[in-house]
């Protein structure tokens, strides 16, 4: 009896998470087997038809491709780029400069993706944006173009904004990980006469590999869930060239009124993000870095 009363401590959290996080997830599987018109209210069981439709939908595949491109570029910039950047920052001797750089680089991560997305929408804008004007001024006027208005550059332009917004966040975390490396290890390396580049590869990199693994997983998982910046900057256009799974799900369900199909896309997202999360668990459960 007392044990049951003690459960009162965890019941609020369990109920909220159960009802609003887990239950919809389970319902989603059921929804994905329905042909469902939300206005007429007609529902019909169609088995795996929505999944077959997925396989034949070119926009689904291009969306998935965009998510993968997002993941690849983000891992390169926000994991490996950020790690190198963090090592550079931490090699600065003045503590004030180190802190200042970390803070400045992080500011874009504090402002929302919506604000950052709108800001870059304007930066890319051909008439009033600074990007084309800057290219002009640098004598590279022939490179000026409607960055978000054409299929060939739109996706990369959105991804570039996202790197700008997010790199400071991972840099900050790597900087903390590097600070936690005992200074004696660096001291020993310095006495051995190891140069800064060798030191990065033989000391820093191995000792922050746990953080590197985690950041890779977090970044990939985030890349599959991209939504905000695409909605704000292009809405998925031009001609669906910047659709990602999240925006295609939204459009299918809430604009094209095809709830069952949207649920099927959600299932794909679930499988992808769960796979990444399980990989992350596996990475964390392996032996920790010890010094």
């Amino acid at each position: 009896m007392r044990a049951i009363i003690r459960l009162a401590w965890v019941v609020p959290a369990l109920v909220l998470v159960g009802v609003f996080v887990y239950l919809p997830l389970v319902q989603n599987f059921g929804f994905s087997t329905l042909e469902w018109d939300i206005y007429s209210g007609s529902r019909q069981y169609v088995g795996l038809d929505n999944y077959r439709k997925l396989l034949d939908d070119p926009v689904f595949w291009s969306s998935l491709g965009n998510n993968l491109l997002y993941a690849a570029i983000s891992v390169a910039v926000q994991v490996f780029g950020a790690l190198v950047l963090a090592a550079l920052i931490e090699s600065v001797r003045s503590e004030r400069w180190r802190r200042g750089l970390r803070v400045v680089y992080f500011i874009p991560s504090a402002i929302s993706l919506t604000v950052a997305g709108l800001l870059f929408y304007f930066l890319y804008e051909p008439n009033l944006g600074v990007l084309n004007h800057a290219l002009d001024a640098a004598g590279l006027g022939h490179l000026a173009q409607a960055w978000l208005g054409q299929e060939s550059t739109a996706m990369l332009a959105v991804i570039a904004m996202s790197q700008w917004q997010g790199f400071g966040y991972s840099t900050l975390l790597f900087a903390v990980a590097i600070q936690r490396i005992p200074s004696e290890i660096y001291g020993a390396a310095a006495i051995d006469g190891t140069g800064p580049v060798r030191r990065f590869f033989s000391v820093t990199l191995p000792l922050v590999r746990e953080m590197t693994g985690l950041m890779t997983m977090v970044t990939i998982s985030g890349a599959f869930q991209v939504f905000n910046e695409v909605m704000v900057m292009t809405g998925g256009g031009p001609d669906n060239s910047t659709q990602v799974l999240g925006t295609w799900l939204y459009r299918s369900g809430f604009v094209r009124n095809d709830f069952g199909y949207a649920a099927a896309i959600a299932t794909v997202l679930f499988v992808l993000t769960l796979a990444v999360a399980l990989a992350q668990l596996w990475v964390t459960s392996r032996r920790r870095v010890e010094w």
Binding site: V17, L128, S221
Partner: protein
């Protein structure tokens, strides 16, 4: 640290500083441009994009404020405050129960609550919309409050739990000897001891709620329930030709969280690093 001032070393340092400072410009210039554009007229905006504003008036800010931003800001503040309080309390309760009370099936409950971390909100979107429609909470303040709380409990509980687990057992024993009940022990002793992590999770929850877009966009449509991120996009579509007003709105949305970060960065960094690095 032993340093050898070789020629190559000096060149390398120069390159490093050039790179670091160039990156500062890449980060700061767009932000500066945004702030400056909030002071310009439409004609100036479409003129030389590098020029400074002619007249530093807050007219665009006033316009933005009167065209809905005041309402979006109010909603954002309300949702942020209420969901932060709710999330932190429910999570701290759960963390206390999971770490310091003998609960049956402890491992199962821990797994269930923290397992929520692995699930993407997008996946639950379609069923959640149906659920909130049938509860009559679609397009309401409550929808955002409930979702922001429920989806952040796993992460917040994870951080607080990791902190509470390290608090010494003797604390509970001392409380028990004093005849303090569990409630008193939690409220008077454990929670105050968790102040650093509570500060971190409060700041992280504020950053999250203030900036969240997916739920805000899907679950609210009318004015009066829209938060700033969604409000900004409606400001953009409604007054699309008056861009300086949009810039002013963007600055109003960005300033509170940037200030919050600058003042609370120590806690934000520590909370994140402990959470992800632990």
């Amino acid at each position: 640290m032993v340093s050898r001032l070789s020629f190559a070393g000096v060149i390398a340092r120069l390159f490093m500083w050039a790179f670091l400072l160039a990156l500062v410009v890449v980060v700061v210039y767009p932000l500066l441009w945004m702030v400056l554009n909030g002071f310009k007229t439409n004609a100036e905006l479409f003129g030389d994009p590098f020029a400074l504003p002619v007249d530093w008036s807050f007219g665009n800010y006033a316009k933005a404020w009167n065209r809905g931003v005041s309402g979006y800001l109010t909603t954002s503040v309300l949702v942020t405050v209420t969901s932060t309080v709710a999330t932190v309390f429910v999570s701290a309760w759960a963390a206390y129960g999971l770490t310091r009370v003998a609960i049956p099936l402890n491992k199962v409950f821990t797994g269930l609550i923290l397992g929520g971390l692995m699930l993407a909100p997008t996946v639950a979107l379609v069923p959640l919309v149906k659920m909130f429609q049938s509860m009559g909470l679609y397009n309401s303040f409550w929808a955002l409050l409930i979702l922001y709380t429920a989806f952040r409990i796993p992460f917040t509980t994870f951080l607080i739990r990791a902190y509470m687990i390290d608090l010494p057992r003797e604390v509970d024993e001392a409380a028990e000897m004093d005849g303090a009940g569990r409630w008193t022990a939690f409220w008077r002793i454990i929670l105050p001891m968790c102040k650093p992590i509570i500060t971190s999770v409060v700041l992280l929850q504020i950053l999250f709620t203030w900036n969240e877009y997916l739920f805000a966009m899907v679950f609210t449509s009318g004015s009066g329930v829209q938060t700033l991120p969604v409000g900004l996009t409606s400001l953009m579509s409604k007054h699309g030709t008056e861009f300086p007003v949009v810039f002013a709105g963007m600055v109003i949305a960005a300033v509170p969280v940037v200030l919050l970060f600058l003042f609370g960065q120590r806690y934000i960094v520590k909370g994140l690093a402990d959470g992800i690095g632990k």
